[in-house]
């Protein structure tokens, strides 16, 4: 019996050793499909997200541009969107953000947002850590979390001098953000560790520890046991000197920093409400009346009533939901498109019911059709264009009926 247990133990130990020795598979995504479908479809829509490059060297620039909209269908169970932050999600600081504009204005920090708000963003990044990284834009919304936009792999390659992050201070000096202040951090940590160890070793090296207990257990707590030799006058003197040195160093440090860094200010909070995005005048309205999902063929269909209130014929260009954009069939790629029926342009003043149909495995793969969940809805943005090239982005939403339940 014992040898059998030993055998099982050896096998388990070997298995653990093999697992530990295997190189871990790199994480290739950020759990975006883990978020509920209604959350991804009904909160923020991203469109026209473009990456300027797929490969950059360390220190080389990469620009991400795009538009994000806080949808009018923002779920009522989440807090009202008031404060947001457009940034980047990546496996750590593999890139650094050197510039960020939202609706044309510099936006270093969070912005004030509202339902229906459209935010055209531009972020200039620099490659930092060498590797193959999956990068997304994100729209963090206070109370809802980080809502992820369309991602792309970016390769950061090694550059000759490695990565430095030089910035120019207002004093005119240049500093590298990678190691600024580390001289002081290292110096003072070493100083305090030396003094700390000196303090500790003074007590624990020459004096026994455990065998003091028989004495301390017999004397009151509020005494230093000087009469019995537990703490001597010499101990007091040495500790006084070390305390004096500590105070002197603390004061010296404060004087030094005041001299070395005379210009300082507290951390800044630069929150603001961006100007409205420049968008074309409204020339169309759209309402979804019903939607269905057929899991057997991965097909989503929806009926949408579109009214052209403009003076020029208008056509549907695409449908965007979550991070996915489905262009109309004749403009879409082979693997992603939306069929619009009837496909002819909608005349000025005309109201027409359109049928949208999208057959794509991505509905299941991205877990976007919330079949079986408590909120079975299809939400997205319909992009319409008139003959002059003006565009309207209209949010539509409808409950989804899975075909098996129809």
């Amino acid at each position: 019996m014992r040898s059998k247990l030993k055998y099982i133990g050896a096998v388990m130990a070997a298995a653990i050793a093999v697992v530990l020795a295997l190189p871990p598979a790199p994480a290739s995504a950020h759990g975006e499909t883990a978020q509920e479908a209604f959350l991804r479809m009904g909160t923020v829509a991203f469109w026209d997200v473009k990456y300027s490059a797929e490969e950059v060297a360390q220190g080389e620039e990469l620009t991400i541009t795009g538009t994000a909209k806080i949808l009018e269908t923002y779920p009522e169970q989440l807090a009202e969107p008031k404060l947001g932050f457009i940034g980047v999600i990546a496996p750590g600081p593999t890139v650094v953000i050197k510039e960020r504009t939202i609706n044309g204005a510099p936006a270093p920090m969070a912005i004030e947002i509202e339902k229906g708000g459209v935010y055209q963003f531009k972020m200039v990044l620099q490659g930092r850590r060498v590797g193959h990284w999956h990068i997304h834009p994100i729209f963090g919304i206070h109370g809802a979390g980080s809502l992820i936009g369309p991602g792309q792999y970016v390769d950061v390659t090694e550059s000759a001098g490695g990565f430095t992050n030089d910035v120019k201070l207002l004093s005119g000096k240049t500093a590298d953000l990678e190691n600024i202040g580390m001289g002081g951090v290292t110096f003072w940590n070493v100083i305090w560790l030396v003094i700390g160890f000196a303090w500790l070793l003074y007590w624990i090296v020459p004096k026994p520890t455990v065998t003091r207990l028989p004495v301390t257990s017999q004397i009151p707590l509020n005494t230093d046991g000087g009469a019995y030799g537990l703490i001597t006058k010499k101990d007091h003197r040495v500790m006084n000197v070390m305390m004096g040195a500590t105070i002197a160093l603390v004061v010296g440090g404060m004087l030094w920093q005041a001299q070395a860094y005379p210009d300082k200010m507290p951390q800044q909070v630069l929150h603001f409400a961006p100007e409205d995005a420049v968008v074309d005048a409204k020339f169309v309205t759209a309402d979804a009346s019903e939607a269905a999902f057929d899991p057997a063929t991965d097909t989503v269909t929806a009926k949408v009533t579109v009214q052209n209130t403009g003076s020029s014929p208008a056509s549907v260009e695409s449908f965007t939901t979550s991070t996915l954009t489905f262009p109309v069939a004749e403009k879409g790629s082979a693997e992603r498109s939306v069929q619009i029926s009837p496909a002819t342009p909608i005349a000025p003043g005309e109201t027409r019911e359109l049928t949208m149909s999208m057959t794509d495995a991505v509905w299941a793969k991205e877990r976007l059709m919330p079949v079986g969940e408590s909120r079975m809805q299809l939400t997205g943005v319909l992009r319409l264009q008139d003959e002059a090239g003006h565009e309207n982005f209209v949010t539509i939403q409808s409950f989804v009926t899975p075909s098996a339940m129809a």
Partner: protein, 261 residues
């Protein structure tokens, strides 16, 4: 004759306790001291670091969170708890004013191991952005006050208050270069702000940053001194949380256990 049977103030008792202090035990030698000091360091370091991260995690992680309002309020409370507990244990058991310094050394080493291996080498953040708080000078003060006053009440009032102040002064010294102004896209911000803007923290959007968002001009607008005073008061409370841990969770159960045998 047992020492406990003697009158508390008698010379005979004093001599007996002196003799007891210098007694050599057959099976309890210095090896036991080494075993204690070395093995306990791991537990103490973990307890102190976890307590710090639990109460003041982000303020300890990022330079752009190390502000003059919240940081001096939250951090002293977070980092005085375990030093206080160890102070009680080591003073009670061995009459050594070492509990705070011992905890501070253990925590400092543990924090730096975490920052270097987890944050810098694995996570990729520059150490200049994620250095941890330094508590050793404040810990020396705390142990010194206990040594001088021999009173946990006075140590809590004088020691913990001074602990918070020294903590701020020692850390402000190294924070200074990060508070230099810099131009970022035409806006004036600090070096620490730019680190926060540039180094990607996907799940820590800027709006989560709990720092000073503008202060009323009460107390002449001196946010820093009001925060220091309040932080020092919180440190007094934190000291007694540590005492409760030291007395209630460490000494009392061990005493009960020993009595059973």
């Amino acid at each position: 004759m047992s020492a406990t049977a003697l009158a508390p103030e008698s010379e005979e008792r004093t001599q007996a306790l002196r003799k007891l202090l210098n007694r050599r035990y057959t099976f309890i030698d210095r090896k036991w001291d080494i075993v204690f000091w070395v093995t306990a360091a791991f537990v103490v370091a973990a307890a102190a670091d976890i307590t710090k991260l639990l109460f003041a995690g982000d303020w300890d992680f990022w330079t752009d969170w190390k502000d003059r309002q919240w940081w001096p309020m939250v951090t002293p409370f977070a980092v005085i708890i375990i030093p206080s507990a160890l102070q009680y244990i080591q003073w009670l058991a061995w009459r050594m004013p070492t509990g705070a310094v011992y905890t501070a050394i253990s925590m400092t080493i543990a924090s730096w191991i975490g920052r270097i291996f987890n944050w810098d080498m694995f996570g990729g953040f520059p150490l200049a952005f994620v250095w941890p708080v330094m508590i050793l000078a404040a810990a020396i003060w705390l142990d010194w006050v206990l040594l001088k006053t021999k009173s946990f009440v006075l140590t809590s009032l004088v020691g913990a208050f001074g602990f918070a102040l020294i903590l701020w002064f020692t850390n402000y010294t190294v924070l200074a270069p990060y508070l230099q102004p810099i131009d970022w896209m035409g806006l004036h911000v600090t070096v620490a702000d730019v680190q926060g803007i540039e180094y990607v923290r996907g799940q820590t959007p800027e709006y989560l940053r709990m720092i000073e968002h503008g202060s009323l001009r009460t107390f002449l607008g001196e946010t820093q001194y009001v925060s220091l005073a309040f932080g020092a008061t919180l440190a007094v409370a934190g000291y007694w949380v540590g005492q409760a841990i030291g007395r209630g969770l460490a000494i009392w159960p061990i005493g009960r256990f020993i009595k059973r045998f």
